[in-house]
């Protein structure tokens, strides 16, 4: 089990909130997607952020990359490599993005330029950020495509995105993100759109490359199975807040927060007796955060009591490397 003191963090996020100004007439004014969360990422570790739709998991990555929609605003602090990502000017951010920080998106088709050859798209980053010559950048791109196991990489580099299958396109995205040798890779549901056997290939590849390059990864997903396969540490997000954070082995063996317990119980697995009713969490996942006092999970929680509705539980240390935000869980000293 790995313990990560905040001081050794590659990325240290403090009190991050993401708010969206909503159009007039909705009567809502401001929507809160992420509600004051803090966490760290150590060099080389794979951190999983798990949540259902509306939990704010993708917005965390968009905020770090400076890619929030125009009506969105991130507050707080995100120290990465000695700089606060949230306070950087656009040109300064451009010297970080695509250099030490890169991102893989869920849908590779809409992230690749359909009019540009795949090899040129890869080489572009190297030429812009590292000043490589055309020839050197092309060679590096082909070598990287080969590394992510695109067969016949030199020929494929001259092809356009539509000539690739979904799994191959996601490999291209991974190649593009890792080509610049980032210290931190942000991955937003990179395998969700893929078939299971292809998903398994891409996960294998990401695990291999993470170990080889030493880059840290934040892997955002709704799939606890994918987290179990790939991640060292897990953050469970609900309603824009961290419900529980723990080393993966701890979280899966003994989840403490009622939401983490419910999510794990509701995930279908091969070991449950067939034909049995599945364990559910009643109600509907809440979309967005803030606005109300108390625990965001209180309306769906089976163990809810009065205090949960009035007072927002703070995230307290609950064990080695673990934190839980629940009034019912006694914190360790």
């Amino acid at each position: 089990m790995r313990l990560i003191p905040m001081t050794d963090s590659l990325l240290s996020v403090r009190d991050l909130s993401v708010r969206f100004t909503l159009p007039q007439g909705t009567g809502m004014g401001v929507g809160v997607a992420v509600d004051g969360i803090s966490f760290g990422v150590a060099p080389g570790e794979v951190l999983g952020i798990v949540g259902e739709s509306g939990s704010g998991k993708s917005q965390i990555l968009f905020a770090l990359m400076g890619l929030l929609a125009s009506n969105g605003r991130a507050t707080g602090q995100a120290l990465f490599d000695g700089q606060d990502l949230l306070a950087l000017s656009a040109p300064a951010l451009d010297r970080v993005r695509g250099v030490t920080l890169s991102m893989i998106f869920q849908d590779p088709m809409t992230s690749l330029n359909p009019y540009q050859r795949v090899g040129d798209q890869l080489a572009e980053g190297l030429r812009a950020h590292q000043g490589l010559s055309r020839g050197a950048a092309r060679d590096a791109a082909v070598a990287m495509l080969d590394r992510v196991r695109i067969p016949d990489a030199a020929t494929r580099a001259r092809h356009y995105p539509h000539q690739f299958s979904g799994g191959m396109r996601q490999r291209v995205m991974i190649a593009m993100a890792l080509l610049v040798r980032p210290k931190l890779l942000l991955a937003d549901e990179p395998t969700t759109a893929l078939d299971v056997t292809v998903q398994a290939q891409v996960i294998d590849l990401m695990a291999e490359l993470a170990a080889e390059s030493g880059a840290a990864t934040i892997f955002v997903t709704h799939d606890l199975g994918v987290v179990a396969r790939l991640c060292d540490r897990v953050i469970v997000l609900y309603g824009g807040r961290i419900m529980e954070e723990a080393p993966a082995t701890t979280l899966f063996a003994a989840p403490r927060h009622p939401y983490a317990q419910g999510l794990l119980a509701a995930t279908p697995r091969m070991a449950t007796p067939p034909g049995a009713r599945m364990t559910t969490i009643p109600g509907t996942p809440r979309s967005g955060a803030g606005g109300t006092a108390g625990c965001p999970f209180a309306p769906r929680c089976a163990a809810v009591h009065d205090r949960c509705r009035d007072e927002t539980p703070s995230l307290r240390v609950s064990g080695p490397g673990s934190r839980v935000a629940c009034h019912l869980v006694e914190g360790a000293p």
């Binding site: 259902e52 739709s53 196991r149 299958s165 979904g166 799994g167 191959m168 078939d195 299971v196 056997t197 292809v198 998903q199 398994a200 290939q201 996960i203 294998d204 695990a207 291999e208 709704h222 799939d223 606890l224 199975g225 994918v226 987290v227 179990a228 396969r229 790939l230 993966a248 082995t249 899966f252 419910g262 999510l263 794990l264 509701a266 995930t267 279908p268 697995r269 091969m270 070991a271 449950t272 067939p274 034909g275 049995a276 009713r277 599945m278 364990t279 559910t280 969490i281 009643p282 509907t284 996942p285 769906r300």
Partner: protein, 325 residues
């Protein structure tokens, strides 16, 4: 003896594509040689990856796409021989729910109108008030309170919209519902609610279900029988318990070990075991077994000769070298 609710016999479905001999369109075979029988209370899980033909098969079972060969039978009656009026009546007995529950509802219709719409076809002459009452009844059966009747689709969550889709499917009193990836678009906590609801309705209404999904773990929960499809063909069919205890086809085994389970111990051990390669294109199917190019057990025979789904014994499998049953 009453005939089975739903049957497919040597069913083939193809889509016309241009560029055949002399420029005539020819059929791209998307579903090939599918045979099964579905009785009341049975749930047939159809599993496969994108492009395996599972959704096309689902639509062909409803007659939404014509069969290019073979037959679909509703209560023993061949769809191809039924006239428009008989088909309309028959549709009351065979219904469908879709993957994207919100897109499956008309945004300008209230929930009550969407749900009761099939009654205009199946039970013409019913008064508006009676239609509304039946819609409220159906909503109650799927766990939605009467106040949902007046709402519009944009006011619903994904899980609620899927319940509305199910209410619309059951209002005509069907015997069979074809469920095309009914929980894939839903959050995990909601997925479980909808699967449970479908199991409850199966028990209460004596429904048979065709449950199409890419998720073997979900299929396991609800199915009595399983069919694994690969590139348009069934490669294995079996009763669900026997299938999950010991899948016989190498593709079934690969699918099963590729599904990530929420258990780091199992999963860490699976890292690095993924199957290389990709499915061949349906435009250029291999001459032999559809799985031969990726199969860890493939022999020269597998590349040359297509194995057929042998029907002898209780565990048919289309493989030259299957796991013993």
């Amino acid at each position: 003896m009453t005939p089975p609710l739903l049957q497919a016999r040597g069913l083939h479905v193809g889509y016309p594509i241009p560029g055949g001999l002399l420029g005539r369109p020819h059929l791209l075979p998307v579903v090939q040689d599918i045979t099964f029988t579905l009785q009341a209370g049975q749930v047939l899980g159809i599993v496969g990856e994108s492009g395996c033909g599972k959704s096309t098969l689902g639509r062909a079972l409803l007659g939404l796409i014509p069969a290019s060969a073979g037959q679909v039978l509703w209560q023993g009656q061949d769809l191809a021989t039924m006239n428009a009026a008989a088909l309309r009546r028959g549709r009351a007995a065979v219904q469908i729910i879709f993957q994207d529950p919100v897109a499956a509802l008309d945004p300008r219709m209230t929930v009550a109108r969407s749900v009761s719409r099939p009654l205009a076809t199946f039970e013409p002459g019913l008064s508006r008030a009676a239609q509304h009452d039946r819609a409220v009844q159906a909503l109650r059966l799927v766990g939605l309170a009467p106040e949902f009747a007046a709402r519009y689709p944009h006011e619903l969550s994904g899980g609620q919209a899927q319940r509305v889709g199910i209410a619309r499917a059951i209002i005509g009193g069907p015997g069979v519902i074809v469920c095309d990836e009914p929980v894939s678009a839903l959050d995990v906590s909601i997925q479980a609610q909808v699967v449970n609801l479908l199991m409850d309705l199966r028990d209460r209404l004596g429904l048979a279900l065709v449950f199409i999904s890419h998720n073997l773990a979900v299929v396991r929960q609800i199915s009595s029988d399983v069919m694994v499809m690969c590139l348009g063909r069934a490669v294995e069919t079996a009763p669900a318990p026997a299938f999950y205890a010991a899948p016989r086809h190498p593709y079934s085994r690969a699918l099963m070990s590729a599904v990530p389970e929420p258990d780091p111990v199992t999963e860490r051990a699976r890292l690095g075991t993924s199957l290389p390669g990709e499915m061949p294109s349906i435009l250029h199917p291999p001459p032999g077994c559809v799985f031969a190019t990726r199969c860890p057990r493939a022999q020269p025979l597998c590349h040359d000769m297509r194995p057929h789904l042998t029907a002898d014994g209780p565990r048919p499998v289309a493989c030259h070298f299957p796991e013993p049953s």
